[in-house]
Symmetry: C2
Subunit: 323 residues, 2 copies
């Protein structure tokens, strides 16, 4: 029996886990009815603290997300965890080890865990993730943790618009270079040296410290990124991490940056949704029988280049074609 949008909405606000899970699946599958529920839910969102966790593969992000969730649970807060893995289109979901680690938590009714792969088109994952953040927020979760596997463009874009972005690194072996050299240096509010019981941890922290000193826009007036050392496996340093996240939130509230971040995130959401929209419109225009079919033929014959073709399509689609 199909559930109406109104039913789903009521159940979700009533705290029914299954309603949340169902709506998320609808969002992922691009079911039109999901839109209606999202619209209605919007006014209940805006209360959760949204924490992003990113870093190189193997740095222990998932374990850290798990430990943070445990910590917040002890403080009596309810938690949503979104594990974003754009590479999981084929098999879907998180690695088995993570699933097992999470098991204890996921039995807790105050914890909602969801893995998201890239089912849809390019750009689709960012929109879907934002939708899921909003759903968990509206459903009353106090904290939403968004964990991204890897540090690709889309993942970085996703965590960029969380309230506090935690970048996870680890000591040794050249791996840290890849983590540190990334554009994620710019987006981190809190940096973690995880697996800090390993050799080279102090060195990695010192390297980070140095790189952050030379970070553009880094000054006394702005937020000074905090570096925390952890051993996620046995929970060491997790309280310190939570404290650092807390003090960043404090900073956001006091400086008025929280509102600014919210606006930025909304802008990014709208831009992403529009980008998807135009993707579909372009697909239609370039599809069989569409006005762009002839353009494709001319491109293949090397008569016109893709930029010119895109311009032509833009002229067809837009009221006032942007430059």
């Amino acid at each position: 029996v199909a559930e109406s949008a109104a039913d789903l909405y009521e159940k979700l606000l009533g705290g029914e886990r299954r309603a949340t899970a169902r709506l998320i699946t609808m969002v992922e599958d691009g079911v039109p009815e999901a839109r209606e529920v999202l619209q209605r839910l919007h006014r209940y969102s805006g209360k959760a603290r949204i924490i992003g966790l990113t870093g190189s593969p193997g740095s222990g992000k998932s374990t850290l997300a798990f430990r943070l969730a445990e910590y917040y649970r002890k403080e009596g807060l309810s938690i949503g965890i979104i594990a974003v893995d754009p590479t999981s289109a084929f098999t879907g979901g998180a690695l088995l080890g993570d699933r097992i680690r999470m098991q204890g938590l996921s039995a807790d009714p105050e914890v909602f865990i969801r893995s998201m792969g890239s089912r849809g088109a390019l750009g689709g994952l960012a929109v879907a993730t934002n939708d899921v953040i909003n759903i968990l927020d509206a459903s009353g979760k106090d904290v939403v943790i968004v964990e991204t596997v890897g540090a690709g463009q889309v993942e970085v874009e996703i965590v960029k618009f969380t309230h506090t972005c935690v970048v996870v690194t680890m000591p040794g072996g050249g791996d840290e270079i890849q983590a540190i050299k990334a554009g994620i240096l710019e987006i981190g509010d809190v940096f973690v040296v995880n697996k800090s019981d390993r050799e080279g941890a102090a060195r990695t922290a010192a390297d980070l410290e140095m790189m952050l000193e030379t970070k553009p826009g880094y000054g006394a007036a702005a937020w000074k990124p905090v570096i925390v050392s952890t051993v996620a496996l046995d929970g060491e340093g997790v309280a310190e991490l939570a404290a650092a996240i807390d003090s960043h939130r404090q900073f956001l509230v006091e400086s008025g940056n929280l509102e600014e971040k919210t606006i930025l995130r909304m802008k990014a959401e709208v831009r992403e949704i529009l980008s998807q929209t135009v993707g579909r419109a372009a697909e239609g225009a370039l599809g069989p029988g569409g006005p762009g079919e002839e353009l494709l033929r001319r491109m293949a014959a090397r008569e016109i280049d893709p930029h010119t073709a895109a311009e032509e399509i833009a002229r067809l689609l837009f009221k006032a074609p942007p430059d």
Copy 2:
């Protein structure tokens, strides 16, 4: 002294390396004049073999790209190598080790090597990479190798539209799971088990074989992905890899799929360019004084949700708003 677009165009077709390098920089920087040159160049492109190389970090993609280039050089072919690293926004460029390895090659006038980070906005990297492929193609390179670091959505999108996509894995330690589970299983035409002198290489190849058997759309009529074992460091198996790439190209030509791939790539290019265009348009609409400023205020007040706001903006921008 500024070079005119016409000058640059002539020099590039005349085989001047510096003209190629300059045009690529202009593309990366989004200089408007670059467009004019790209338009003129378009009719000279379409001859190069475009090979994509992707896989997990540490799998040895760069070394393999280097060995492949060496191999093709011995066959008398000219080479372009594009190393795409979306995470390198901050420091830019490839790792030092790669640079050193490439040094011998880059002194060769018939080899053009370029690292690309993500300077622009989201989606910008895919467009810029396609532009650079077209530039190297038009400049007369016989083979263009596109190597992507990591397996994020954007990177996968980029290699998806090369003629032959090579997925690089390596034995052992759970790493291969991450490589294999990725959506890249679907896009690989040739699979490499690199570092095959290590323990577990046969197992990894067998695992791959099994996963490919169950790959959707895998049948007798279609291309059967080939698995090649290599030790890129000392060049072992590189001739076999080149042969596998060659036989895939043969398949594309004989089956008529080459043309189809070209059309798909052009479609993707147009879609990407349009996506960027609409991003700029949305930025304008949502910016200060724009018609979307009020929408943003209403979103922040939780009166309307991002999907509704995007719809409103679409109504302003598009002639016939897509659904």
